[in-house]
């Protein structure tokens, strides 16, 4: 009982500890000062939030369970930030150029918010366009490979040769072939998405038990009906696996492609800030990237749970 309580308050305790240390120990003079104490603001927000959740948990069983589960993890995260704060800002044990204070890193999200939002939108647009093109083409190729022996004979070797080449290694070629670097980026993202979806779709179809098609035959289903009403749904778990591989691959390609030629986007932002030696901004960009990638995969899993409700829990994230 006591233990449960300790778990629940652990996060608030950790936040209070971090606040006390930040306020009591003065910052090292070596570390450039931020224009405001953004890390402290962040801690205040997290602290207030969890105090509110804690109070709700007193009256609500479900919230209480959830809090007990997540609170220690958040507490651990805050503790790590606390240690980083001590090492970088308070004692300046590491080179201050590459290890900026947390105040400055968190400050970027406030000071650069308009530019960052533009970057998110630009990257998001690029990602969506490339992903949709690549996924559609991959799905079609996969279907053809899975269902048509002749096409499989001729196209499979091509897939095997082109597929494993990292999409970004095409950049020297496509940057000169396409008229804009934007088109080149779309091409590379589409390529990185196309391969895993093609492979997982066709292998998913080839692994379908024959009896599913025989049942459809005896019920009078036509060829196309069998492809789309038996083949595709039966291969869906495998296709989703392809989508996950594709998502991570697309992210890597997106950032690399943006570093090469684009004039906007998160990859461009990272590269630009690095060249200006603004490492606080680089860290902020990395955090942003991690949050976005996780968000997209979360959404994909929600989507999967809806579509594959008949086999819930087969792929766990």
């Amino acid at each position: 009982m006591i233990w449960k309580h300790i778990k629940k308050v652990s996060c608030i305790v950790s936040v209070i500890g971090a606040i006390l240390i930040d306020r009591l120990i003065p910052n090292s003079v070596e570390q450039p000062q931020a224009n405001a104490t953004y890390f402290l603001y962040f801690l205040y927000i997290v602290g207030t939030l969890f105090v509110a959740v804690y109070i709700t948990a007193l009256f609500h069983e479900g919230v209480s369970k959830k809090l007990e589960e997540t609170s220690p993890l958040i507490a651990g995260g805050i503790l790590i930030l606390n240690i980083i704060n001590i090492v970088c800002s308070k004692l300046a044990l590491l080179p201050v150029l590459f290890f900026p204070s947390l105040d400055r890193v968190f400050g970027v999200f406030v000071n650069d918010r308009v530019l960052m939002l533009e970057c998110i939108l630009s990257s998001g647009r690029l990602l969506v366009i490339g992903f949709v093109i690549g996924a559609l083409l991959g799905f079609i190729t996969g279907l053809l490979l899975g269902f048509n022996r002749k096409i499989a004979y001729w196209v499979n070797p091509l897939t095997k040769v082109i597929g494993p080449i990292p999409a970004t290694s095409w950049s020297p070629l496509v940057l000169s072939l396409f008229s804009t670097s934007y088109q080149a980026a779309v091409f590379m993202i589409a390529l990185s998405v196309w391969f895993p979806i093609t492979v997982m779709t066709s292998s998913g179809i080839q692994n379908i038990q024959q009896s599913y098609f025989e049942v459809a035959d005896t019920l009078g289903a036509g060829k196309l009906y069998k492809v789309f009403r038996v083949g595709v749904p039966a291969a869906m778990p495998s296709i989703f696996l392809g989508l996950f591989y594709a998502t991570t691959g697309a992210f890597i390609t997106l950032v690399t492609a943006e570093m090469f030629g684009c004039k906007s986007g998160i990859g461009w932002y990272l590269n630009w800030q690095k060249s200006m030696m603004l490492y606080a901004n680089v860290y902020a960009g990395l955090i942003l990237l991690a949050v976005l990638c996780n968000l997209i995969i979360k959404i994909l899993f929600k989507f999967k749970d809806r579509i594959l409700i008949w086999q819930k829990g087969v792929i766990k994230w």
Partner: protein, 259 residues
Amino acid sequence: MVGEIKIENASKYFNNPDGSILTALNDVNLTVRSGSFISLIGPSGCGKTTLLRAIAGLNLVDEGTIYIDQEPITKPGHDRGFAFQQANLYPWLSIEKNISFGLKARRIYQSKKEDVAKYIEMVGLKGFENAYPHQLSGGMNQRASLARALVGHPKVLLLDEPLGALDAFTRMNMQDEILRIWKEHEMTMIMVTHDVDEAVYLSDQVVIMTPRPAKIEQVIDIELGRPRARGSNDFLKYRTKILEILNFAGENKEPEYYL
């Protein structure tokens, strides 16, 4: 009335992995009267499932011809329903959608909607329409599978040991259920089974097949009125007779006193 199956000189060969040829059906001749119930019985390897799949059009015979109402069978069709040994329901479809799959594939679902509800009720799955196959027991899935084969009103229903996976009690209930459906819809039924009692209980004719080479050993007419009493003398006589033929035709022809 329709649904007459005529098998003429049907032979089927499979290639063994070692290059030899296995005779899966050897010159089989059989006529199944329209509207009758026949059972194919015999030890494994006697070709009964091969014959059933050939009638369904899932595997074609290499020699000879199989006719349905004088038409040679060249491919599967909805005039021949097939109840598989495993339920083989589509796991991504609910029970209701599984059962209506064939109707939708043939684009006649709109006009036959009531049939789906009727058959769901008939196989005792009312209230489970929206459940997924993995949520139901094996017996319930098997019944759904039977409803799926029946709802399209095939002329011939081919049953490949569809009751094999069920417990004895459910099995006997399902046998009565199948008989009722057979009488009500006046369709031809051809059933593969291992169970002699089941064959005698259900069939007008029992076709006994033997392996090596796979052929028809004997066709026995069961001249008993329905409903049949499973323990009656006449019933047991047929049962004994079939078992004798199966034993005699079996592999071990050596007398037991050698032991």
